[in-house]
């Protein structure tokens, strides 16, 4: 990541931002650089501070301490209407008394632009709703309102576009479609997008870079693949997808790998994927990376024996197994139904294996369930 001295012209830079509401610290000493032109997602559960961070960037909330820069310009004390930043609000916040056309023209008119027609028509075409220009917001469907909210923001060509759970109020199908359109529009107009969401799928579909937030701090930041394949904390491992985390002890090294003893069986973990601080580790493996075999089948890579199938769920595209290991931990296994072999049954004795490169290691003192029991955000809060 770029630092202060190498920031490009339009990068957004948050320096040591803290925001407290009374005793509650919503954002805790957060520093962040968002490069110009990127699609950046702030991902986290309800109350993690991501919306507060967004509001601080927008100028709707003042940080208790800390500063915000766009390029070399300090905007910390600027009011929201003085910042070259626009927001697509959760539930859109369209002006109910104005037509769609006037909603979109609002920002242009405030900046003293006389001839707004061309710009407004162009952006309404971009979101494919030019025929609704003279309607009022209440006459539009949720998906249409969402696009108008987007049009109203991007027509101003801001240095930064903020999206606050923009798709939360839409149904699943529409959400998928809008995810693709948003990504396309971002490429088309070339603006920096900062997207706040609690939906990991949404973040991974659209963003180049994701920052996972928890309790006012950034847990980890990186590309979607980075975060998924190489999580640094149990929270990230569990919040982005699902993970099996198994307690183990580092016994030695083998080339570029650590040799880890998990309940008297040995597995290998690439050193580059280890975030352990000492010999005590949590070995992590994603459920879909594991292969499941009947007992006695020879297996390669990392192998764990002695499992018994505790539960089987057939869900069409895959079969999900809960496998009880000798140390009484249940591991999750997702097996693609692509090999023509009928699913195994409850009670079958099995061997689990996976390519050792897929393993990651977390510090052994972490809470293995962190981030896994977070409820989805209540969108009406």
């Amino acid at each position: 990541m770029a630092d202060a001295s190498t920031s490009a012209k339009g990068d957004l830079r948050l320096t040591r931002i803290t925001k407290s509401f009374g005793d509650f610290t919503a954002v805790d000493d957060l520093s962040l650089v968002i490069p110009e032109g990127s699609f950046f997602a702030l991902l986290g559960p309800s109350g993690c501070g991501k919306t507060t961070t967004l509001r601080i960037i927008a100028g709707l909330e003042e940080p208790t301490v800390g500063s915000i820069h766009i390029g070399a310009v300090d905007i910390t004390t600027k009011k929201s209407y003085q910042r070259p930043i626009n927001t697509v609000f959760q539930n859109y916040a369209l002006f109910p008394h104005l037509t769609i056309y006037e909603n979109v023209a609002f920002g242009l008119r405030r900046r003293g632009i006389k001839d707004v027609k061309e710009a407004v028509d162009k952006v309404l075409n971009l979101v494919e709703l030019p025929h609704l220009a003279q309607r009022k917001p209440t006459q539009l469907s949720g998906g249409q309102q969402q696009r108008i909210a987007l049009a109203r923001a991007i027509v101003n060509r801001p240095a930064l576009l903020l999206l606050d759970e923009p798709l939360g109020a839409l149904d699943l199908k529409l959400r998928r479609q809008m995810q693709i359109e948003l990504k396309w529009i971002q490429t088309e107009v070339g603006l920096t997008f900062v997207h706040v969401t609690h939906d990991q799928e949404e973040a991974m579909t659209m963003a180049d870079t994701i920052a996972v937030m928890n309790e006012g701090k950034i847990e980890q930041m990186g590309s979607p693949a980075d975060l998924y394949d190489n999580p640094e904390t149990a929270f990230v491992a569990n919040f982005l997808g699902q993970s099996n985390l198994i307690k183990g002890t580092v016994e030695g090294t083998d080339g570029d790998s650590l040799v880890v003893n998990v309940f008297s069986q040995r597995i290998k973990i690439a050193k580059s994927r280890s975030h352990a601080k000492d010999n005590s580790v949590l070995a992590g493996i994603r459920p879909e990376k594991i292969r499941i075999h009947p007992e006695g089948t020879p297996a390669t890579g990392n192998v764990l024996t002695g499992g018994v199938i505790a539960d089987v769920s057939y869900i069409g595209v895959s079969t999900q197994y809960q496998v009880e290991m000798p140390w009484k931990q249940e591991l999750m296994v997702f097996e693609q139904n692509d090999d023509g072999v009928p699913p195994l049954n409850k009670g079958d004795a099995v061997v689990l294996s996976w390519e050792s490169i897929f393993t990651f290691a977390l510090a052994g003192d972490e809470d293995a369930s962190a981030g896994s029991e977070v409820m989805p955000e209540d969108l009406d809060e």
Binding site: D3, R13, R16, T18, D29, S31, V33, E62, G66
Partner: protein, 278 residues
């Protein structure tokens, strides 16, 4: 990132913080002044209810609780209060019943003449009190009905109905009709749906309307003055005695009504909150 996280924490200078605080709280400071303005005469009335001023309560003559111990001490004051309460309760009962009926008809049905009904409800509110009072008195005179207790009750019911309709209608309009549909889906017939679902949900609106009707009736002077003849009510008593000084007992009654109303509203809120499932 690393460099940023190790940078000194940027903070705002103190004078910027102070001016920001004022910017944020200007409207709240204004509200404090607004409420002070609203409450100065209430406070004055309360303080002078402790005045040892005898019949005329114009200047402060010393502290006493005698007025509170004997609120009926001044001649006529409690007769007037009694009349006001009786008229208020009767007017509230009738106007709430009649107005709630109209509110349900307007809020729940599409019928012929709905907009003219709306207009008929709006007109009494758009007519100055003095016209309402004078016209009703003319009618009573034509039919040779003497002004007094019942003409006053009728007058009060007349001007309270519109306010009841507006208040209850607003509550009905905010109800989700799907709740009633759900009740019917769950085997409740029209009457049971009304009794078990609609009425409990509209009840706070009706209670609010009744409270409003009572306070309008209790505090009314102009219409009452036209239609009550020689009957004394509390506002009439205050108005008449204003020229020669209002006895402090009137302040006691005014302050008591204030506190009573506060208690009713606060208890009502409390009960309402407790009933809400959390």
């Amino acid at each position: 990132m690393k460099q940023l996280a190790d940078a000194p924490i940027p903070t705002l200078p103190i004078n910027a913080r102070i001016s920001r605080w004022f910017g944020r709280n200007l409207i709240r400071i204004y509200a404090v002044f607004g409420f002070t303005y609203l409450f100065i005469p209430v406070l004055y009335t309360f303080i002078f209810s402790f005045n040892d001023g005898g019949k005329s309560n114009l200047v402060w003559k010393g502290f006493t609780t005698a007025n509170w111990q004997n609120p009926c001490g001044a001649p006529e004051v409690c007769t007037a209060l009694g009349n006001s309460i009786k008229i208020g309760l009767l007017a509230t009962t009738f106007s709430t019943i009649l107005g709630t009926g109209i509110a349900f008809a307007i809020g729940r049905y599409n019928f012929k003449g709905r907009s003219s009904t709306n207009l008929l409800i709006f007109l009494p509110m758009a007519t100055p009190e003095i016209v309402l009072g004078a016209s009703l008195l003319s009618l009573f005179l034509v039919f040779q009905i003497n002004p007094g207790f019942w003409p006053t009750v009728i007058a009060h019911v007349m001007f309270c109905i519109s306010f009841v309709v507006v208040t209850v209608k607003a509550r009905i309009a905010s109800l989700d009709p799907r709740l009633e549909q759900a009740a019917m889906d769950l085997y409740a017939n029209e009457f049971e749906t009304f009794r078990r679902v609609t009425l409990p949900l509209v009840a706070p609106g009706i209670a609010g309307a009744a409270l409003l009707a009572f306070s309008l009736s209790f505090d009314d002077f102009i219409i009452t003055n036209f239609n009550s003849g020689t009957l004394s009510t509390f506002p009439k008593f205050v108005y008449v005695s204003a020229t020669r000084g209002i006895p402090p007992q009137a302040n006691v009654i005014g302050s008591s009504m204030f506190f009573l109303a506060l208690i009713i509203v606060v208890v009502g809120q409390f009960v309402g909150n407790k009933r809400k499932p959390h």
